[in-house]
Structures are given as structure tokens and as C-alpha cells.
């Protein structure tokens, strides 16, 4: 059986730490002169590379040269432990062994010390790595492109990185100690509190926030928060102000496009570039094509494009995509199967990253109709010119024949008189046609109309007085009936032309000895002029046609063979230009009445001029 002392010695002998005990050798003056090795264990022998026999009984100073260098001041360490009467600890690195040791000099009593060397290489390595990674982490945090703040659970900023305080316009010193709620935009403080709460409860938060810098500038941030430990959170701030601005601008430009799209006076549709399918259409488009909703129009894509085939429409769409903007005239059919002519312009646009084809349609149905009317008018002109020319040619043939036969020249002279009249007619027709052309050209360009505020009664009187000689030739009484002054805005010369035309027509168609009544009165906001004759009247079926170009009722031809049927047409054009209307009615008794209705002019005070 081993004694307790023996067991302990055995334990020491097998301890993995190197272990040595020393006796202190004192000088006469009471200074420690040296430390003698009393015992060492197996680990010690291995560490210093010498056996027990080689070192026991020897002083530390004496063996230092023959044992392995361990990189620390052994003597100094022991001396210090002795003088301070306590345990002294140093860490040392052995270059030959490439290992770290923790060396402890243990004071037991004034004559006795123990040295323990523990291999701490592994621990040291971990520690170094940790330190290294901590330095690295700090560097990362300091260099991070995002703001990083450490906050406590109350939201107070404990630490921050350079990017973090600079983004907010602070110094590190100024920012630390503030609460995150202090950097929130006024409207966002409550939300910041909520995020803190969320961090506390869930240990995680991710959101967008609006913060204010020290210079009161609002900036947007992406905020990520995580728990660092029980009492600290880490929050990352990524500046997204620019992105937000871009998004806002994009939204604004989208809104702008939407407004243009919605408020445009033209029909606009957006098509899929591949299928031609209608993706969107504005109000005008829906209204033009007679649909109540976009969905309804979408369902009808194929029908809408007729009477051209859908393929033709698709071809235009694809051509736009491949070759760029197109412009063409297109006949569309509405839901109610009415046709409308449109001038279509197409272009490629990008909507939400998708290339689409945008088509704008300007309704040109009226213009087309006008063009058609003009063509028709020209045809009519040609027709009207050909008739007298045919007559003149015919007369030439007759005269030539008579001359060839040697017949008396009186007959030829008679025919030449006919020809002369036909030529007069021809030039009359040409003059009137020119009048119409001039009127149309001026209307379209709004030229040459001399607008002025005028008193209608005055003009009417002037025309009636001028017509007196003609009417008295036929013993026709011109009865003028004018209530008050009526002021209108108009071109006096043109209105005179119209009135002169009406009155002279009335005179032509009224038998001698009868009466024509000309009156002017107001009806609400309108001035109404009536020219009432006691003539033959107008056949009911012709009442609406008399204002058409080259229209001549049989009565007209009889009474006014030189007439062209352009006078009333021209009158209607002029009155329309004045914002008024002109029409004819047959009287219950005999004759007919022509009416002219013109808007009364009010001065700015709301009174008549």
C-alpha cells in the first residue's frame, strides 16, 4: 500500500504539465542567490530535454545553458514570486518547440517554490484566431458600405461604424448615446418604436424607413435588425434614397403617361406586339368604338379591326415592332357596325419591361366626308360646265351647216345669239363656282372674315332699300318689320350677300302685284330674320335640298334659267360660319318663308352692345 505522500508523488510524476520544485538559496544579506532543483516530473524532463539526474541538486542558473530554451526569465520569475510571496504567471513561446507555455511560479514558503509549465499552444492559437477575426470583423464593420449600429434594447445607440454615422451626418461621438427614434422622420417615430419592439420579440426585423440626418435631410434606408445578444441589437442601414427617387420619378413618369393616355383627345390603344391583342385602351378609344368597358373591347379585338381583316391589322403591328413607327389611314368598324376613318400612328413603347405597340387614332371621318363632298362638288361643277359647252358646240354645228347650205345669215345670227347667252351662262357658272371655292378656302383658313359687332337691322334696311328698284319693276311691295336694334358678331358684307340673295329670290318667285314681308325679331338668345313671299312655294320634297350645291327646283329653272343653284348653298355656308342656321318652310296659304337664325352678341357686362 502506498502512503498518501507516495500517491501524491505518483500523481505529480504523471501530471501532463511540466513540474519542478525549488529550494531557495539565500545570501548572507538575505537575497535569493539561486533556486536549486529538488524534484521534477516526467513531463518536465521531456520539455527541457534533460533527465532528472542531470538537473536535480543543481541551480537554475547553472542548467539554463544545457537545457532547452523556453523563452522566459526563469530566475526573475521565481525571484518575483518569492519577493511578492504570491503566484506569478507568464506566457512564453518556445522557438525551438514552436509552442506556447503558461509558466507559473508558485510561492509555497520562504524557502520553497514550484514552477509549473503548461502547454497552451492550442488555446493560444484559438485565442489568436479569435483576436484576428475580431480585428478583421472590426475592419469589416468599419469599412462596410452600409451603416451598422449597435443599439440596446431601449434603442439607444451604443456603437456605430463610420459609414453609419456619416450617412446620418453625425460624428461617432455625437451619434452614440442618441436613440434610434431620434433619427426617425417625425412621421416615422412610432414605426421605429414598433421595429424595436419587433426586434425585442422576434430578434429580427427587415423594412424600409425614412430617417432624418443631422442637417434635417430626409433619407430612405433599408433597415435590417438582428439580435447581437440578450441586451444588444445590431441594425444595418442601407441608403436607398436614390433608388426611392428613381422609383418615385418612374411612378411620376408613369402617372404622366397615364394622364396623357387618359386625357388625350385621340383614341389610344396598346397592343401585344406578337398577338395584336388589345392590352389597354383609353376612354376616347372606348367611346369612339362604342364600348362601355375595356374588357368588352378586349373580347372584341378581332371584330374591331374589321372591315380590314385581323391579319392586316396584325401585320401593321408587327411591322411597327420590326421597322419602327408607322402612319396610315384605317377604316374601323364600331360596335354598332358604323365605319369610321382614322389616321393611325403606331410606335413601340416599353411598358413594365414589355415591348408593346401603341397606336393613336385620329378620327378623320369628317375630313374624309368633306373630301368626298369636295370630289362630288367638283364632279357637279364639271357637269354644269359641260351643259352650256354642249350647247355652244351644238350651235357651232348648226351654224356651220347653215353656212354650208348658203342659207340666210339672219338664222345663223339667231343661233350665235344663243351661243352668246350660253357663254354668259358659262362665265356666270365659273364665277359662282369660284365664289364657293373661295368661301370654302376662307372657311378652312378662317381668312378674310371681317368680324365685327354690328346692328343687324341696319344691314337688313340697306339690302331692302337696294332691292326696291327691282321689286317696284314687278309692282311687288317690300314690307319691312323690324322691332328693336339687334347686335350680333359677324361679317357685314357676307351677311348682306345672304340677305340680298334671299330677297332677290323672293322677288323672282313672287308674281307681280304681290307682297314680300321681311321681319326681324329676337327669340331668347337668337336674332331671327324671316323673308316671307307670296310666290309659288317650294315642293315639300325639295325643302331640304334647296340649300345643296347645284340644286335647282323646276320652279327655279323656269324663273331663273341663269341660276346655278349655288346662291342658297353659299348662304348656308356663310350662316353656319356665323354659328347660325338657315332653313325654308312653306306658308300655310301660299308662298314660302326663309328663316335665318343668328346668335345675339352680348358685351361682357351681359348687356347688348
Amino acid at each position: 500500500m502506498l502512503s498518501e505522500a507516495e500517491k501524491y508523488n505518483l500523481f505529480l510524476e504523471n501530471l501532463p504539465d511540466a513540474h519542478a520544485s525549488h529550494r531557495v538559496i539565500w545570501s548572507e544579506a538575505g537575497n535569493a542567490l539561486n533556486f536549486e532543483f529538488i524534484s521534477v516530473n516526467k513531463a518536465f524532463e521531456e520539455l527541457i530535454g534533460a533527465s532528472k539526474e542531470e538537473i536535480i541538486g543543481k541551480n537554475i542558473e547553472d542548467v539554463l545553458s544545457s537545457i532547452r530554451y523556453l523563452g522566459f526569465d526563469w530566475f526573475g520569475l521565481c525571484e518575483k514570486a518569492l519577493s511578492e510571496k504570491r503566484r506569478i504567471l507568464v506566457e512564453t513561446y518556445s522557438e525551438p518547440l514552436k509552442r506556447w507555455y503558461e509558466v507559473t511560479a508558485l510561492y509555497i514558503e520562504d524557502n520553497y517554490l514550484i514552477t509549473v509549465l503548461r502547454d497552451i499552444t492550442r488555446h493560444k492559437r484559438i485565442e489568436n484566431q479569435l483576436q484576428e477575426s475580431q480585428t478583421l470583423l472590426r475592419k469589416y464593420i468599419d469599412d462596410a458600405p452600409m451603416g451598422i449600429h449597435v443599439i440596446d434594447t431601449e434603442g439607444y445607440i451604443v456603437d456605430t461604424n463610420p459609414r453609419g454615422f456619416r450617412l446620418l451626418g453625425y460624428t461617432r461621438k455625437n451619434l452614440i448615446g442618441l436613440n434610434v427614434c431620434d433619427i426617425a422622420d417625425n412621421n416615422w417615430i412610432e414605426y421605429f418604436k414598433y421595429i424595436l419592439q419587433k426586434l425585442k420579440s422576434f430578434g429580427y426585423a427587415s423594412t424600409e424607413v425614412l430617417a432624418v440626418t443631422s442637417e434635417e435631410e430626409k433619407r430612405w434606408f433599408d433597415l435590417y435588425g438582428v439580435n447581437l445578444n440578450k441586451s444588444l441589437h445590431l441594425i444595418f442601414f442601407i441608403d436607398i434614397t436614390e433608388r426611392k427617387k428613381t422609383e418615385e420619378n418612374l411612378q411620376k413618369s408613369e402617372e404622366k403617361f397615364r394622364t396623357l393616355f387618359d386625357k388625350s383627345s385621340n383614341a389610344i390603344m396598346i397592343h401585344d406586339k406578337d398577338t395584336g391583342e388589345i392590352l389597354d385602351a383609353n376612354e376616347v378609344a372606348l367611346k369612339t368604338y362604342g364600348y362601355n368597358s375595356l374588357e368588352e373591347l378586349k373580347k372584341d379585338t378581332f371584330r374591331q379591326e374589321s372591315p380590314y381583316s385581323f391579319n392586316e391589322a396584325l401585320e401593321k403591328i408587327q411591322k411597327t415592332y420590326l421597322e419602327g413607327p408607322q402612319q396610315f389611314e384605317w377604316l374601323s368598324m364600331t360596335k354598332n357596325a358604323d365605319y369610321i376613318w382614322e389616321e393611325v400612328r403606331t410606335n413601340v413603347i416599353n411598358i413594365d419591361g414589355e415591348e408593346c405597340v401603341l397606336g393613336t387614332g385620329i378620327n378623320i371621318t369628317e375630313r374624309k366626308q368633306l373630301e368626298k363632298n369636295q370630289r362630288h362638288f367638283i364632279q357637279l361643277c364639271a357637269h354644269e360646265l359641260r351643259n352650256p359647252m354642249t350647247g355652244i358646240r351644238g350651235i357651232f354645228s348648226l351654224v356651220r351647216k347653215r353656212l354650208a347650205k348658203g342659207q340666210p345669215s339672219e338664222e345663223a345670227t339667231k343661233f350665235l345669239g344663243h351661243a352668246e347667252r350660253e357663254i354668259d351662262r358659262l362665265s356666270n357658272i365659273i364665277n359662282q363656282i369660284m365664289e364657293v371655292f373661295k368661301e370654302q378656302a376662307e372657311q378652312s383658313r378662317e381668312l378674310n372674315y371681317k368680324w365685327q359687332v354690328l346692328e343687324l337691322g341696319e344691314i337688313l334696311s340697306r339690302v331692302v332699300i337696294a332691292a326696291q328698284p327691282m321689286s317696284s319693276n314687278h309692282k311687288i311691295e317690300l314690307d319691312m318689320n323690324v322691332e328693336d336694334e339687334i347686335w350680333i358678331n359677324g361679317d357685314p358684307e357676307r351677311l348682306e350677300d345672304v340677305l340680298r340673295n334671299l330677297i332677290s329670290n323672293a322677288v323672282k318667285f313672287t308674281p307681280d302685284g304681290r307682297k314680300i314681308v321681311i321681319s326681324m325679331q329676337t327669340e331668347k338668345d337668337w336674332a331671327v330674320i324671316k323673308v316671307q313671299d307670296e310666290g309659288v312655294g317650294i315642293p315639300e320634297e325639295h325643302l331640304h335640298h334647296v340649300f345643296k350645291s347645284f340644286f335647282r327646283s323646276e320652279n327655279f329653272i323656269e324663273k331663273d334659267p341663269g341660276g346655278m343653284g349655288l346662291g342658297l348653298y353659299l348662304s348656308k355656308e356663310i350662316i353656319s360660319r356665323h354659328g347660325g342656321s338657315i332653313w325654308a318652310e312653306n306658308n300655310p296659304g301660299r308662298g314660302s318663308t326663309f328663316y335665318i337664325k343668328l346668335p345675339i352678341y352680348y358685351s361682357e357686362e351681359g348687356d347688348w352692345q
Partner: protein, 120 residues
Amino acid sequence: MKRILVVDDEPSIVMIMEEFLSEEGYEVHTAMDGDKALAMVDSEIPFDLALVDLRIPGVSGKEIIHKIRQTSRLEGMPIIVITGFEKNSEDFPPENSYQSLFTKPFMLEDILEEIQRLSN
């Protein structure tokens, strides 16, 4: 004596045609509107040829030609269309319903030549 029907609303043309064709020995009947022309077609007069203007008041020249072609009494009677308009499908009768077409202003001599050719 050959009988010719002249339908035109232009008084001077009617007058000149009448004068010219009468001198050439034709019996000329005239109608200056559609109703009068229809009455002529319905009458017992055995016309040998008709000159028809397409644009006349009342019933159109196209309708008058249609009426003539339905009238068995006038079967095979040559028709000459005279018009101041360019040829168009709307106002014009079918091509096989008339023999020739003259556009105003035509030469009376040309018309006469055509009348002689058609009525022989």
C-alpha cells in the same frame, strides 16, 4: 321617217338637238324630266332610237333606260347615253343596256353619225 326620243333637262341642248336632227329628217320627241320621259316610253310612239341624259329631275336616266328595256314594244331599240359626268357605277345603267355613250360636250356630227349607224 325615223323617230328619236331626246331626254335631257337642258333647254338649250334639247332645242339644238331638235333643230339639228329635224333638219336631218328625223322626227324628234323631247322630254325634259323623268316623268315626261316615262310617259313617252309608255306612249304608242314607235321610237327607233333614244338619246338619254342620265341626270334629269325626277326619275333618273338609269331608271328610264331600265323601263325602256322592259318595254316589249321598244325591244331592240338602240339607246345612246349622253352625260356630263365621268363614268361611275352608281348612276350608270348596266353596260349591256345601252349601245353607246357620249360625254358632254359632244359634237352633233358625231352623234348624228352614231344615230345613222345604229338605226340602219
